[in-house]
Symmetry: C2
Subunit: 346 residues, 2 copies
Amino acid sequence: MAKRPTNPGKPTIRDIAREAGVSVATVSRVTHDDPRVTVDTKLRVQEAIDRLDYRPSALGRALSYQRTNTLGIVLPGLGGPYFAQLIEGAESVAVARGVVINVLGTHLRPDAVAAVRQLAERTDGLIIAGGTIPDDELARLARTVRVVLVAGEAPGVPWVRTDGRTAAAEITAHLIETHGHRRLRFVGEPTGSPDTTERYAGFRAALAAHGLEEAGEPLRYGLDVPSGAVAARDLDRSGALPDALVCANDELAIGLLATLPGLGHRIPADVAITGFDDTALAELASPRLTTVHQPIVELGARAAAGALDDAAWGEPLADGAAPVNLLATTLVIRESCGCAAEGVAG
Amino acid sequence: MAKRPTNPGKPTIRDIAREAGVSVATVSRVTHDDPRVTVDTKLRVQEAIDRLDYRPSALGRALSYQRTNTLGIVLPGLGGPYFAQLIEGAESVAVARGVVINVLGTHLRPDAVAAVRQLAERTDGLIIAGGTIPDDELARLARTVRVVLVAGEAPGVPWVRTDGRTAAAEITAHLIETHGHRRLRFVGEPTGSPDTTERYAGFRAALAAHGLEEAGEPLRYGLDVPSGAVAARDLDRSGALPDALVCANDELAIGLLATLPGLGHRIPADVAITGFDDTALAELASPRLTTVHQPIVELGARAAAGALDDAAWGEPLADGAAPVNLLATTLVIRESCGCAAEGVAG
DNA sequence: ATGAAAGCGCTAACAA
DNA sequence: TTGTTAGCGCTTTCAT
């Protein structure tokens, strides 16, 4: 081990102690605003701290405290408003506790599991989005770190989510019952994420409940706006537009919404479109997007609370129902489904 | 200090040593694939490691190694394709070095400086986006951590960026010279970020070079799609559309592009629109967006390389010119400016 | 080939 | 009020 020649960069607590002519314990007390230090010594120590521009090493503290004051968030990717809002929700509770957040996007990582493990090593808790890492790894992590799964569910791991299946069935039923559509298609990759899987299931359930079949295979595209634009082109080229397109999320829907008109298809006259999430864009698009409102920010906040709290939080398996983890969604009817502006239906 | 009762969770190197009947040094050697351990003991140790599911604490290692194998990225926010791409670029070099990335969004943090300091404490290097924290704090950080400023410039801090001023002047000149527009307005908050400041300066420079005045104050909106949609509404309500709108980035432009037609304004016939960045959306919008291509992924990669390397990298102040930090942009002419499809002009 | 021990930066129980 | 010291988990020299 290096013998610390003189001052290779950052001053340590010992440098300050020596400089101020006190013990390291006293320096520690000063950095902690411990009231038991004489105002006099405190001043002397503070002076040394300022002069050497000392700040306690988070690493050393973490090792001693046995906690890092860090919350990790694992998401598939970092793009898009959904994840930004999720992080925002988590930040809000993290800030309140003086905890800093570390975000990891697995899509960019060839070995997601290894990256998550490394992250777990440096955090007090972990928020993990559904579909990012395998269930068994999730369970394994949950044994050594506080883990909360968001938008997903796995055995033995606390979770927070919404009931996407029911919500998707509702919005699909609206299209069928209120607007009389019969030929509907789903847009999104059903096996892509647990969220999408659920929504697709709800879509099919509503169809079945009305004695309908899908008007075709799901249109398998990514969950971003560009994918929606591409889907629009492909759909136009195929020549056969259905009555309505139920999209896996808002961004996809917006991509369609912004591109189809340019190709000669009017919305909702020629084809109705619905989204999912109710992100900022939904309200601003034209026509405004009919979608399902999800409390994304709160999802993030709850997950953070769960991942940070020592209290036994969300042990849904223990006492049967644990409704606090299942947040409510609401159907938001606007105009892209065919309803008139200001009109409300359900 | 707690006396570590028995096994409160994670096993430590000492647990393994005891379990395998060896010293901690030997365990350490095994976890490092040190060839000097008998295959026999190695097996015994490995067995204990597997059985107890032991993995070395990153914290302990970091403290001993004096490096964390972590790269920090500080951005204003996490939304949008620009930052996603920047992170992608940084990830690519981080992955290659077995380094993990920590992302921090300052917009959500009331005390950004404190959060960045805390992050600096846990990383070997920091990539900081221009406009996130004050210059003096930047300089201060640069004294104790490797810092690279991306999309910005500050005294005493290595940086990587593009020449946004020149690029903005070029695209503005195109609008004036090729399309004969005279009444142009800038969309974006000039004081919002160094990037936007530069682009606005370029816009004004081009105007001045052609003896023109701005057709009005900059339209001060955020850099996201929803802001563009709002800008479109406001502009429509004001009744006075200019010949062309030069937007601070693609998202803003896309918001305008997607909303103005619904309000009765044709693009580019009634008003021409240009973006900046050349994100995926630009190619897919209709009309396709004329914009400035920026090598964002490479910007992120270079920044990461700089923040991680020990080699003296980008010391632009030392030897005068350091062109390697100034990446080239290219003008991408599509149709939103008024050019015909497939047409190229400059 | 293996172990003992010092040290990384900090905290906190215990003494003085 | 202040100091001494053991310990957090790990690495690494130096002995053996």
